[in-house]
Structure formats: structure tokens, C-alpha cells
């Protein structure tokens, strides 16, 4: 079985090389047969990798522990779901997942464009398959998932003894977090491939943008989902409620998301005004290479991270791929600069165009700050020999003000008109949002929040953006209501349907606002650790907690101890929480299953951390996390907004470019 799997990967590798070389050779030699043959090889690569993935999953589910990968990441006691998710629980399997997803994306691209872009497609095929070849090189040669376990093959394994999936990964959100993240990472290859193909074939227009807009948006959505699921997992599993720790691997997932967000914004400048063409090329390429860089950071061991895969020798492969890829991309962009000339001019600094420029500046600056903070320990050690820590305080100090300014721009952008805005129109547009924000800040100061300046500013800006969005919907919906005799809600739906990109975008912004409210709540977190005997109670925030019971037991996978914690608030009984402490048998590792009482205003989070040293008292860590649920709520709003953006608009909008044919001579009378 494992031989068939390994053979499928080797064949897929050979066919990927063939597809990459054949498509370009066919295009250059003008042999359509070769091009079509190369494109069909893409389908074959997908088929072979589906077979290899299916076999690995089968080996995991049926417990073939003579396979090194199966022994290292699965054990008989694990539930079937986690045996399946062990596919991406380790280095080799996750690289196979990556390759399989890329082959799937590539097959879809080939199929949907089989009769379009005859000039570009061979180059698209080349870039997709060159990337595929790189990843297949890793799982064909140094990191095959089908290696048979023999004595000494892996120093940390006793032959044939199953180790099981890391207990922290045995959690439902973690089951789908990696595939979502990979769908995002891998998906950015498609717009990159089209962008570079457009450059190579000297396409004068921006057809690649229209073609890949949905790809980019879907990919961005997957990336957002992956990042949020990771946050949700960290929040519920690690035991202290931290959803973001600025770990290098977390940062690696954030980097392409930020640059992808910048690209989604600046691409509008190209669509509507024919501007920023070079910049969009840089952004889409940068996003792709940040995805590869993130994978490199996660897998090479260059940065220390609790989330990283085991250190391996594949770092050099990544360095070569990144170096060659970036050099080739820079060369092609510089060489084709004359095809990327801007078609319009910036008419005023106070314009929507300028707000996009500032939006890109702030997004890219925050992207750089995250990258810099991630790599600085490595750079510092290489140059000075000193190890250095760059942890949460650094990121907080740099990124909180930057994030707040970005939130400000989120509110300002939609208020400024394309081309230019007059001061009067700005005054009218800003009046209500600013007044509402100011009123909230003053109100919060009176409520005693004045000693948290960032929180004050953040809440004020969140309301500012909310009012701008609400006003946009209000103005549009009331106009439709007046014309079409319908109620306001129906008119708002109609408005959104007419221009799904614009109003879906506002809903995405609203999701981000809700997330910011959730992040801001962390300024008011409370925590308490106590050692109590059953029957004893303690207080945290407004809550009074009583440990009422302690039970234990075990199953095939782990031994467990659960405590029952009765929760009361102001004398009212709020129910019982059951935090659990587990000890996983195969991996010999403890893990906590926290109990969370989720509410919109605050979460009560209780962790059964273990027993006191004399085993007589229960150690409970209790936390109150204000507003944290708004983060997850914000994600769902962001999801809805992105899906709306993907819906074709009811009114097909043609983005008329501003064609400037000349200037009106001064003192020339204009006839009416």
C-alpha cells in the first residue's frame, strides 16, 4: 500500500515537471498539442495526489503503525476524526495536503479557463506547476509520508510504538484550522500565477485582475477563517484564554493575510482608475512569497515556536525557491514596467484614491512590523551573537497605534469621494460619525474608563466607523425606498444586491469593527488562581464560584478528572461549569479542557489546572474576559460580508475609467 502511495507521489512529481516544462515549450514552439498535453498532466497530478492522500488517510485510519508517519501521529485510542486529521498533524502529511490542495486549485483553474486566455494559460500552468514541483520535491525526496519505520530511522520513536496526535491538536477547531489556512496559503498562488503570466505575455489591460478577483477573495476568506479558527483554538485549549500570542508561526499566518488585504483594496484603484498597476503586481507577488516564507518559518526551525513542526533539513530548499522566485519576479516586473503605466492621475490629496494609498501604507507598515519582529531575534543573533526576545509587549507598543490609525482610515475612506472631496462635503460627511464617537468617549470617561487611553480611542473609532457604515446604508436605502415604495430593510437588501462588492465590503468592515471591540475588551481582563477543596468558594469579578464535585475516569485515549463548578452572580444561580484535566496515554502529555460561559458582555473562563502538591486541593484558574465573544461574532459578520461580495451584482457595473482628453482653457465661456 505504501509503495503505491510513494509511487503516486513520484509520478505526480514527474508529471508536474512535465506540465511546467511542456506548457512553456509548447507555447514557445507554437505547438498547441504540447500545451494541451501539459494541461492534462495537471489533472493527472491532481488524480495521483488524491490517490496518495487517500492511501495515507487509509493507513492512518486502519492503524498501520509500521509506517513512520502513522506511528508518529496516530494511535489506536484516538477518535476517528483525529486519526483523519493526523493527515496534516505532521510535517510530511501537511506537505502532502499542501501539494494536493495546489493540484486541486490548478485543476480547477485549467478547467474553468480551458477555452480562455490561450496566450496566458501556458504560463499560468508553468507557474502553478513549478510551485507544485517544489512541494512535491519535498515529499518525494527528504520527507516522504510513506517511509517505513525501521530501527534507528527515527531516534525519538520506539519501533512501531504509536505516539498519537499531540493532545493540544485534538480539538474540533484544530481539525479544520490547518486545511483552511492552507486553502488560503495555496490559493494565493493562483492570482500570482495569472499576474506573472500577464506580465510575461505583455497583456496591456488588467484582465488578470478580473479573472482572479474571486479567487483572491475566496482565498482571503479561507485565510481569515484559518487565522480565526487558530485564535479560537488557542483561546479554548491553551488554558489561559490567550487567542493571540505573537508567536512566529501565528505571525506567519498573519503576514499574507495583511498583504492580501492591502491587495484587495489597491486592486480597486486599478479596476476603477487604471492606477497602481506596478504596486498591485508587487502586492500579489509579495503575498505569494509571504505564504512561502511563512511555510519556511514554520518548517525550517529558523525561529523557535511552540507551533512549529519538528526541525528538518528542508530550510535550504525553501531558501533556494524563495531566492530564485523573488529574483525572477523582480526582474519580470522591472522588465515589463512600460506595460504597467498608470492610466489616470491623482487629482487631489483629499480623495478616495489617497485614502487607498494611506490604507496600503498602514497595512504594509504593520505587515513589515510583524515580519521585522518575527525575524529580529534571528537577525540580532546573527549580527551581535545575542539572543533576544521579541514578545507581546513589543507588538503591542508598535501595532496598537498602527491598528487604531487603520481603523480610523476604515471610517474615513468611504466618506471621501473618488477624484476629490470639498471641505464642505467632508464636514457634512464627518459630522455625525465624529459627534457620536466623541459622545461615546466622553461617556466612557465619566464611566471611569479614562485610565485606558487606547481602549477609549478604540471604542470611539469603532463607533465612528459603525456610524459611517450605517449612514452609507441609510442614504442608499432611503433613496431606493423613496423610489420603489418598499420598507427600509427591503431597500437595504436591494441596495446591497445592486452593488454587492461595495456594500459587502462595508459589512466586512463592520466585522472588523466588531473584532476590534473584542480585542479592546482585553484591556479589562481579570484573572485569579486559587487552590480550593470541594465545597469551598471564591470570587472573581461579579461571579462567585463554588467547587461542588470532583470525578475521574478514563477511556482508550486519555484519563480524565472533572470538577463541577457552580456559578452564581448577585445571588442568582447561573449553572454549573465542568472544566476537565486530561492525561493522554500514548503521548504521556497532560491537557486541559476548559469550561467557558460565553456571553456577549464577557466570558467566564474556568480552567482545572490540576491538584495541589499534596493532592488535597483543586487548583482552579478563573478568568473574566470582557467582550471577547465580539471577536468571533465579528468573524461571522466578516464571513457574511465576503460571501455577499462574491454574489454577482443585480446591476452590472462598468467601471468607467476617467479619460482625461484635455483641459478647459481659462476664461473660456462654457455654453449651456
Amino acid at each position: 500500500m505504501e509503495n503505491i502511495g510513494a509511487l503516486a507521489i513520484v509520478l505526480a512529481f514527474c508529471l508536474a515537471v512535465y506540465a511546467a516544462v511542456g506548457s512553456v515549450a509548447g507555447r514557445l514552439a507554437k505547438k498547441p498539442f504540447l500545451v494541451v498535453s501539459a494541461q492534462r498532466a495537471v489533472y493527472a497530478v491532481f488524480g495521483l495526489l488524491t490517490l496518495a492522500s487517500g492511501l495515507l488517510v487509509y493507513l492512518l485510519l486502519t492503524g498501520n503503525y509500521y509506517i513512520a508517519y502513522v506511528a508518529a501521529h496516530s494511535d489506536p485510542g484516538m477518535p476517528t476524526l483525529y486519526k483523519f486529521t493526523a493527515w496534516w498533524g505532521g510535517q510530511e502529511g501537511s506537505l502532502l495536503l499542501w501539494s494536493w490542495l495546489l493540484s486541486g486549485y490548478s485543476a480547477v483553474v485549467m478547467w474553468t479557463n480551458r477555452r480562455r486566455f490561450r496566450d496566458m494559460m501556458p504560463w499560468v500552468t508553468f507557474i502553478l506547476m513549478a510551485t507544485e514541483t517544489f512541494f512535491l520535491t519535498l515529499i518525494t525526496f527528504p520527507l516522504s509520508p510513506f517511509k517505513i519505520l525501521i530501527a534507528g530511522a527515527k531516534a525519538n520513536l520506539v519501533e512501531g510504538q504509536p505516539q498519537g496526535l499531540n493532545p493540544l491538536l485534538q480539538y474540533p477547531a484544530m481539525a479544520i484550522h490547518p486545511p483552511m489556512l492552507y486553502l488560503g496559503y495555496v490559493g494565493f498562488t493562483v492570482p500570482f500565477a495569472f499576474a506573472i503570466a500577464a506580465l510575461i505575455t505583455k497583456q496591456p489591460g488588467d484582465e488578470w485582475i478580473h479573472t482572479t478577483r474571486r479567487w483572491t477573495l475566496i482565498t482571503w476568506l479561507f485565510q481569515s477563517t484559518g487565522v480565526t479558527l487558530g485564535m479560537g483554538w488557542a483561546y479554548a485549549v491553551l488554558g489561559w484564554g490567550g487567542y493571540w500570542g505573537w508567536d512566529p508561526v501565528e505571525n506567519a499566518s498573519l503576514l499574507p493575510w495583511i498583504s492580501g488585504t492591502a491587495f484587495l483594496h489597491s486592486v480597486m484603484m486599478q479596476e476603477k482608475k487604471g492606477m497602481m498597476k506596478v504596486w498591485n503586481m508587487v502586492l500579489v507577488s509579495g503575498t505569494f512569497f509571504l505564504c512561502i516564507l511563512g511555510t519556511f518559518l514554520t518548517r525550517s526551525g529558523i525561529v523557535s515556536s511552540v507551533h512549529a513542526f519538528a526541525q528538518s533539513s528542508i530550510g535550504n530548499y525553501f531558501v533556494v525557491f524563495l531566492t530564485v522566485g523573488i529574483a525572477a519576479t523582480v526582474w519580470i516586473i522591472l522588465d515589463r514596467m512600460k506595460y504597467l503605466k498608470s492610466e489616470a492621475h491623482l487629482e487631489s490629496v483629499v480623495s478616495r484614491e489617497s485614502s487607498f494609498l494611506f490604507n496600503n501604507l498602514i497595512l504594509l507598515s504593520s505587515c513589515f512590523a510583524v515580519l521585522w519582529g518575527t525575524l529580529f531575534p534571528v537577525i540580532s543573533e546573527a549580527i551581535t551573537g545575542d539572543k533576544i526576545s521579541v514578545d507581546k509587549p513589543f507588538y503591542d507598543k508598535i501595532l496598537i497605534p498602527v491598528g487604531l490609525f487603520l481603523m480610523f482610515l476604515t471610517g474615513v475612506g468611504p466618506l471621501i469621494a473618488w477624484r476629490r472631496s470639498s471641505l464642505e462635503s467632508l464636514r457634512r460627511a464627518f459630522m455625525w460619525p465624529s459627534a457620536a464617537a466623541l459622545a461615546l468617549v466622553i461617556g466612557l470617561c465619566f464611566a471611569g474608563v479614562y485610565n485606558h487611553p487606547y481602549a477609549l480611542v478604540s471604542f470611539g473609532l469603532c463607533l465612528f466607523v459603525t456610524v459611517t457604515i450605517a449612514l452609507e446604508f441609510w442614504k442608499g436605502a432611503t433613496a431606493i425606498r423613496a423610489k420603489n415604495d418598499m420598507n427600509l430593510v427591503r431597500a437595504a437588501v436591494e441596495l446591497t444586491h445592486r452593488n454587492t462588492r461595495r456594500y459587502g465590503g462595508y459589512i466586512v468592515h463592520m466585522g472588523v469593527v466588531l473584532m476590534f471591540i473584542g480585542f479592546t475588551g482585553s484591556a479589562f481582563n481579570k484573572d485569579r488562581t486559587v487552590q480550593v477543596a470541594p465545597g469551598q468558594d471564591f470570587a472573581i469579578g461579579h461571579y462567585n464560584l463554588t467547587v461542588t464535585d470532583l470525578q475521574d475516569g478514563n477511556n482508550d485515549n486519555y484519563e480524565w478528572r472533572t470538577v463541577s463548578v457552580a456559578v452564581r452572580k448577585g445571588g442568582e444561580d447561573l449553572g454549573i461549569l465542568h472544566p476537565e484535566h486530561r492525561f493522554y496515554k500514548s503521548s504521556n502529555q497532560p491537557a486541559s479542557e476548559v469550561a467557558i460561559r460565553r456571553r456577549l458582555n464577557e466570558d467566564l473562563y474556568v480552567n482545572f489546572a490540576g491538584m495541589s502538591s499534596d493532592d488535597s486541593r483543586i487548583v482552579i484558574q478563573a478568568y473574566v474576559f470582557p467582550l471577547v465573544s465580539w471577536i468571533w461574532l465579528g468573524y461571522y459578520v466578516l464571513l457574511a460580508g465576503t460571501l455577499i461580495c462574491l454574489v454577482p451584482p443585480k446591476v452590472r457595473l462598468a467601471y468607467a475609467r476617467t479619460e482625461v482628453v484635455g483641459i478647459v482653457p481659462k476664461r473660456e465661456p462654457v455654453e449651456k
Binding site: G242, L361, S380, G662
Partner: protein, 158 residues
């Protein structure tokens, strides 16, 4: 007499600390100093002040040390300096603002400054004034044609 008082105080602190778990030692003053120090357990990326791992091999003794030094009357800076002396600058939760590490703080703002310069260049390069200088004067015939088109479009909107 002062030495006696210090010894008694230290003995009292030590007595209170023995047998306590790591998180129970997080008094507000310990947390204040702890927030400046990185947890070097290599499992989490928290600070000594907010690491929630109950038996953290680094934070538990670190908090004990902070409490003891505070009892001895050491200032926050002296306590932090002692950790740096013992573990190197990686003991700090964020890079120091001197020497090579200053770059960590400066570079993000340099990036923003460079971005602003780039925007200024973009505005100058693609700004309307330059565009206007490059454009020919519009003849009345063409202007009239465009104005008629505008009238038509506006009428269609209404």
C-alpha cells in the same frame, strides 16, 4: 537594626512563598516587574507577569526571585538588570532601546516614513498639476460634445 529587619522580612517572605504555586505569587508588584521579563520556558511566549502555566519551570522561580528582591528593597530596574545579567538580554520581553536592538523599535517607523515619502512622490509624479501641464487645451467642439454626453447621462439617471 536595619539588617535585622531585612532578615526578618526576608524570612517572612520566604516562609510565605515556600510551597506556593507560581501563579499565586503574581501580586500586582510582581506582575508589574514580570511584565518586563520574557518567559524563557520555550513553551509559551508570555511574560513572567502573565504566564499562566502553573508549574512553569522559568516563571515560578522568577516570580519568587522578584518577590525576594522587592522585599530587599530593590527597584524595578535593578531587578530587571539582575535578570539580564543572569540570562542575557533575551530575559527582556521586548528589545532594549539601545545598541543594535534599537533597530527593532526604529525600523517599523522608518518603514512608515519611507511609505509617506513614497506617497509624496506618487502624488507629485501622478498629481493633477503635472497631468494638467502635460495635457493639450480642449477645443470648444470637444468640450461641447462631452457636456452633451453628461447632460444625456444625467437625464437618464433621473
Amino acid at each position: 537594626m536595619a539588617a535585622w529587619k531585612r532578615i526578618v522580612l526576608l524570612a517572612a517572605v520566604a516562609g510565605l512563598l515556600i510551597g506556593q504555586d507560581g501563579t499565586a505569587l503574581v501580586t500586582p508588584s510582581v506582575r508589574r516587574v514580570g511584565m518586563r521579563l520574557a518567559c524563557l520556558c520555550a513553551t509559551c511566549r508570555n511574560t513572567v507577569g502573565d504566564c499562566a502555566m502553573l508549574e512553569c519551570g522559568y516563571c515560578k522561580p522568577a516570580r519568587l526571585k522578584i518577590a525576594q528582591m522587592q522585599a530587599e528593597g530593590k527597584t524595578d530596574d535593578e531587578i530587571v538588570a539582575s535578570f539580564v545579567k543572569e540570562n542575557g538580554i533575551q530575559a527582556l520581553a521586548s528589545p532594549p532601546t539601545s545598541g543594535f536592538s534599537l533597530l527593532a523599535w526604529v525600523m517599523p517607523f522608518v518603514a512608515i516614513a519611507l511609505g509617506l515619502v513614497a506617497i509624496a512622490w506618487f502624488v507629485r509624479r501622478f498629481g493633477a498639476r503635472r497631468a494638467a501641464a502635460e495635457l493639450p487645451e480642449l477645443d470648444p467642439e470637444t468640450l461641447k460634445r462631452y457636456q452633451e454626453q453628461i447632460e444625456k447621462d444625467v437625464a437618464r439617471l433621473e
